[in-house]
Amino acid sequence: MSKLVIDTIEGKTTAGSVNVRGEGSNNTNLQQGLAKAWAGFDTGGNLGDSLNISSADDDGTGNFGINFTNNMANNNYSATTNIADFTHNGSGNNLRCCTVGVRNSNSVEIDQGYTNSSAIFIFYDGAEMCCSVNGDLS
């Protein structure tokens, strides 16, 4: 048999768990290895390309959020974020930061800003950012 014509593959023991052979001899898990949501968006809350994202929010200066189409199982998921390089005019104001804030099962908050010369964090609309979410879907 060389062809299998199907719509859905699911695990036999657990429907939502399929093991896949990795590049070598170790196995990894298909569902656990898939990013459950990702997005690129700008500081105006304008969503670029994305997966499982219904919308992006501009919640104020340096405060943003992305909302999931399909919710995560809980808020114990992993979310990583990065920011495009930006500059801020001001002496010593060059330490930039983009971090994950509150995580909910249906959304995640992302904050960005810079640390000024007095080591005070200032919320700031810096540049486009991206986020990737890994964990268990509901």
């Binding site: 014509v5 036999k12 590049e23 990583t80 971090t99 994950v100 964090f121 268990d136």
Partner: protein, 155 residues
């Protein structure tokens, strides 16, 4: 044909219909899938999978959830190692990304974090290191919310 229930299916192509191939399985067990735009038929499924991820509460030294993570070693303030269950092929065959908020109370001034990966140059096929640094207090600090992921070639 609507359902196949079994342990082993030996197959080369998985198709929606006779004209539409969704996946191709090589003799090494590697799976190629069709791209979203359908122009590329050789997107590598295994290469696209995240091989390790976790959510770490570094302040309380607790892994909240994870994949392919056996433990983490708290090496110093704001610094540590993530230890993997299944190894990567070599130290040159994987990448990692880390996000943390160096935590010193509920204040943005002290929660900002600059992060580093492989800062101590001690990465191995089953371990990579990380660091969180707070500009607010000019010190390495544990992150209450730390997230990390790694991708590449499993051994």
């Amino acid at each position: 044909m609507s359902t196949i229930v079994g342990t082993n299916i030996e197959v080369t192509n998985i198709k929606y219909d006779s004209d539409t191939t969704s996946m191709i399985i090589s003799n090494a067990g590697q799976v190629s899938v069709k791209s979203e735009g359908q122009a590329i038929t050789t997107v590598k499924l295994q290469q696209g999978l995240i091989k390790q991820w976790l959510y770490l509460d570094h302040v309380n030294a607790t892994i909240k959830s994870s994949l392919n993570t056996s433990s983490f070693t708290d090496t110093n303030n704001g610094r540590g190692d993530f230890n993997l269950t299944s190894a990567f092929t070599s130290v040159n065959d994987y990448g990692a990304n880390y996000t943390g908020n160096a935590y010193n109370g509920n204040s943005w001034n002290t929660n900002t974090a600059n992060v580093k990966m492989n800062w101590n140059s001690t990465n191995t096929t089953t371990k990579y290191d990380f660091a969180s640094y707070s500009d607010g207090v000019s010190a390495y600090l544990d992150s209450l919310y730390a997230y990390s992921l790694a991708f590449g070639d499993l051994a």
